[in-house]
């Protein structure tokens, strides 16, 4: 039984699939345009009251979410709008992106709202393809900075930043400059999730490349001399990554593994690691001593959006918009019960009128780089390729 023997079978199956997908995408195309065409503008222009009325008419709404905290949101939504049945799916971002794209292509039933991370991939695979549409609730017009309205509405910001063990280093972060991580002192003592395997970490290293000038300046500041680029290395960002990998950075498979490695109490010589700032709230529960190295130069890492979009094929376009509006939080200082699941120290509300949660650095003192999904999408492929050549 050889591969050769299977060729005729494949040859037979290929046209079948092509025909099938052709049929299905043809179907999808028509419905997509209908839903997305004139309707979009009509719903976008609705006032809150009109939206509620239309949503209650529709009677249901389906949401895909990359976080299971959506369950709590859904409960609050049910309390607020008992007439609208909300169905929540908990699907990780990369699966969600694939699922939304496939459903759109097949014209299959799909969600009304997508709550998704992995912004650069969302940009290229969903927004450019017209699978997801932005909706900015009218009441958010004034309170949401422009960068959080595009390409989709951002409801909160999460992080991938350098953290240390505050039990072992009670006087503050043991490093002041990212370039220290490439020195002998930290050889084999820096942990992060493999950027070739996880989108948010790839976004982080991509940002270092995009901010090559800042990285260059930081080197000068740390070493007291200008950075010499290796042959074939384009800029200071790439040079940092090359040096970090050469300094035996430890790659692991999950943020939890980083947290455990960096944060576990009782260590004499804990490593440093890039992880999620808000995981610090689990210190008590998990026996960790995680703390952010917030003042490290040029920046401790990145801050990136979790975004909300309406699907082009939404069956319940009004309810979809109502849910997005709901998930942006109410008018109280902490966003109220609808926003509560996301109001945690270490994550930051996208809205400028909400107070930063207590227990973490205020946003303005937190130097992490905000990413630009579109710019990031343009170069992250190159960065991933570069990393593959230096391992």
């Amino acid at each position: 039984m050889s591969a050769r023997a299977a060729i005729p079978v494949l040859a037979a199956a290929l046209p079948l699939t092509l025909v099938l997908s052709a049929c299905s995408s043809a179907g999808a195309g028509t419905t997509g345009t209908d839903a997305a065409g004139h309707d979009t503008q009509r719903y976008d222009a609705m006032s809150h009251e009109e939206l509620v009325a239309a949503a209650e008419e529709e009677g249901e709404v389906v949401v895909y979410s990359f976080t299971s905290r959506i369950a709590t949101v859904a409960e609050e939504f049910r309390k607020e709008y008992p007439g609208i049945a909300i169905t929540e799916h908990d699907i990780p971002s990369s699966e969600q992106i694939e699922r939304l794209a496939s459903e759109h292509a097949a014209g299959a039933s799909t969600a009304d709202v997508a709550y998704v991370s992995d912004a650069p991939v969302v940009v290229t695979q969903l927004i450019e393809e017209g699978v997801l549409l932005p909706y900015v609730p009218p009441r958010m017009d004034d309170v949401l900075p422009e960068e959080h309205k595009e390409p989709l509405v951002t409801n909160r910001l999460s992080t991938k930043v350098l953290m240390y063990n505050e039990e072992a280093h009670p006087d503050g972060a043991p490093v002041e400059n990212l370039w220290e991580l490439t020195s002998g002192a930290w050889e084999g003592r820096v942990v992060m999730v493999d950027p070739n395997g996880r989108g948010d970490y790839l976004d982080m290293v991509t940002e270092m490349v995009l901010r090559a000038d800042e990285m260059d300046a930081a080197y000068q500041e740390w070493a007291g001399e200008p950075l010499q680029l290796d042959d074939g290395v384009e800029n200071a960002g790439y040079q940092f990554l090359a040096d970090l990998y050469a300094n035996d950075v430890i790659l692991v498979d999950s943020t939890d593994a980083v947290n455990e490695a960096v944060g576990a109490t009782g260590q004499d010589n804990p490593p440093l690691g890039f992880t999620t700032y808000s995981d610090r709230r689990d210190n008590e529960d998990e026996g960790w001593a995680l703390q952010v190295a917030g003042e490290v130069a040029p920046a401790p890492g990145i801050i990136f959006p979790a975004m909300l979009g309406v699907t082009a094929d939404a069956q319940n376009p009004a309810a979809a918009r109502l849910l997005i509006d709901f998930m942006m939080g109410d008018d109280s200082a902490d966003g109220g019960p609808a926003y509560a699941p996301f109001y945690v120290p270490g994550d930051y509300p996208a809205r400028s009128d909400l107070q930063d949660p207590e227990g973490a650095l205020p946003r303005e003192e937190f130097a992490a780089w905000p990413i630009d999904p579109e710019e990031s999408a343009a170069v992250r492929g190159e960065v991933a390729d570069f990393l593959l050549t230096i391992q």
């Binding site: 039984m1 591969a3 023997a5 299977a6 079978v9 494949l10 037979a12 199956a13 290929l14 079948l16 699939t17 997908s21 049929c23 179907g27 976080t67 299971s68 905290r69 929540e88 799916h89 699907i91 990780p92 990369s94 992106i97 694939e98 699922r99 794209a101 496939s102 459903e103 292509a105 097949a106 014209g107 299959a108 039933s109 650069p120 991939v121 950027p195 070739n196 395997g197 996880r198 989108g199 430890i250 790659l251 692991v252 939890d256 593994a257 455990e260 490695a261 960096v262 944060g263 009782g266 804990p270 689990d282 008590e284 529960d285 026996g287 492929g381 390729d385 593959l388 050549t389 391992q391």
Partner: protein
Amino acid sequence: MTSRWSRALLNPVTLLALVVLLVLGVLVAAPLAGLIGATVPAGAGGTGTGTSWRDVLASPMSQNLFWTPLRNSILVALGTAVLSTVLGGFLAWVVVFSDIPGKRLIGVLATIPFALPSFALALAWTSVFRNDRVGGTPGLLGSLGIQVPDVLAWGAVPVTLTLVAHYFSLSFVIIAAALASLGGDLIAAAELTGASRLRVAVRIALPAVSPALLSSFLLAFAEGVSNFASPALLGLPVRFQTLSTRLYGAISTGDTERGYVLSILLVAVAAVVLYLGNRATRGRNFAVITGKSSRPRLVRLRAWRLPVLTLAWALIAATTLLPMAVLAMSTLTRRANSFDAGFTLHYWIGASDPGISHGMAGVLRDAALTTATGNTVALGACVALGAVLLGMLGAYVVRRHRGPFVTGGIGFLSYVPFLIPGIALGAAFIALFGSGAGPLPSLYGTFWILVLAGIAASIPYAFQTAKSSLGQVSYELEEAATLAGAGTGRRIGRILLPLSARGVVGGAMLVFVTVVRDLSLMVLLVTPATPLLAVQTFRYASEGFTQHANAVTLIIAAVSVTATILARRLQGARRPWNA
């Protein structure tokens, strides 16, 4: 010529072959074709850019993206396949032929590792061998002050060994079923020559079940090459990358096309292994269930009893009891993976407490748990039934059909689904059944699309077990039924199925366990209306609720073990004539 063709088409085996190929075409070949299409540039009939092939095979990245991971994958998969088959074969021989005490219990326990998620075995490994390379809390040996070298803590060795601990149990199920079909004559005749027991086991009993050894090797190889959890957990810290970690890495960082190229290459590697494996046993007859019957007999181990007993229980302790204990403990520790903070039943039965796990209540308080368990069992049962039926029919066609294209096609398509990434399989199913395109019904959002996807993903178990157990049934038994006037359906149902029941039930069990355990593609297809246990574990794990996730994993293991015990009962009941 026309009549010749129409007559050939009316031949039941040919008809069956067409049906099986059609089903496999939709379930496997179509997703595979989609996979290939996505890597071919739009100008050449595909939907991709086409540059991924060059990136993977001939670019400065190739070494780290493909060649080294390829070498690592083959190393790990070969090690897994060989060791799993050897250990599984050994335990199967102990349980079927030896006279050691407690062998029934060994028989049940030996099937458990397969039911555990591979991360549980990797976790068990780190709980003992973790050293200070990564930081964090050291493992048992480290905390005793023993320096564990990196080679034992991370990389090829632990990855291979944890996979073996996982998949030897698969080999055990397949080989035990085959050994149980050996008549006593074969063994007695060999013993009469004065050969030692070991010699009889190695030279007579095992070669007589070559098809089962081959099936076990092939399945363990495919599992070894496609497993993601073990190399990700134990390989990454020393940058030990396999094709599977590279493949999932590419997909989850948004470069699906490159991921698909890697998975197509993985399919090609598997096809080569399948071809070589089949060539090794081609043209030989392994029918041991013949029309001449004899009763099985036990081997008296005498002086070998203690060593064999010790070895068997050591294996069970290391692969079943330890991981189970680690998993169970991890649901009871207040802090994940740490015994210092004390123990609690909160993660099982506790009410919502804002101070613990962000207020997540214990898993047994989750109303969805019962529904999810019910759904999971129903799904597992339906998939097992469907996959076994398809696998049986496929294996029957391969047995009876002479055309190399037909048998090769069925063999290939039934082997590779492991290697198609779940995300690609899921996407293909959405494309095929999403809106009922063409002749296919719109099943999207229903329970049945999960069943179909489950069948597609688990057909390798069903087909390989059916093939190896059908290979044991001599042709004459079927021909005797033919001459008694029985048609194809009746022969399969009344003669072949009962005679291969041990292997087929074993296959059904493997399918059931796989479906229940973890099927990543379900995340793409599942709906809130049909919650599944595996998806729930995922939900907990993704939020860092380790204890909750492990508790659900333990429930899954319990469901799997129950199914295993039931299957063994059924196997016993199906063979009263020589039980």
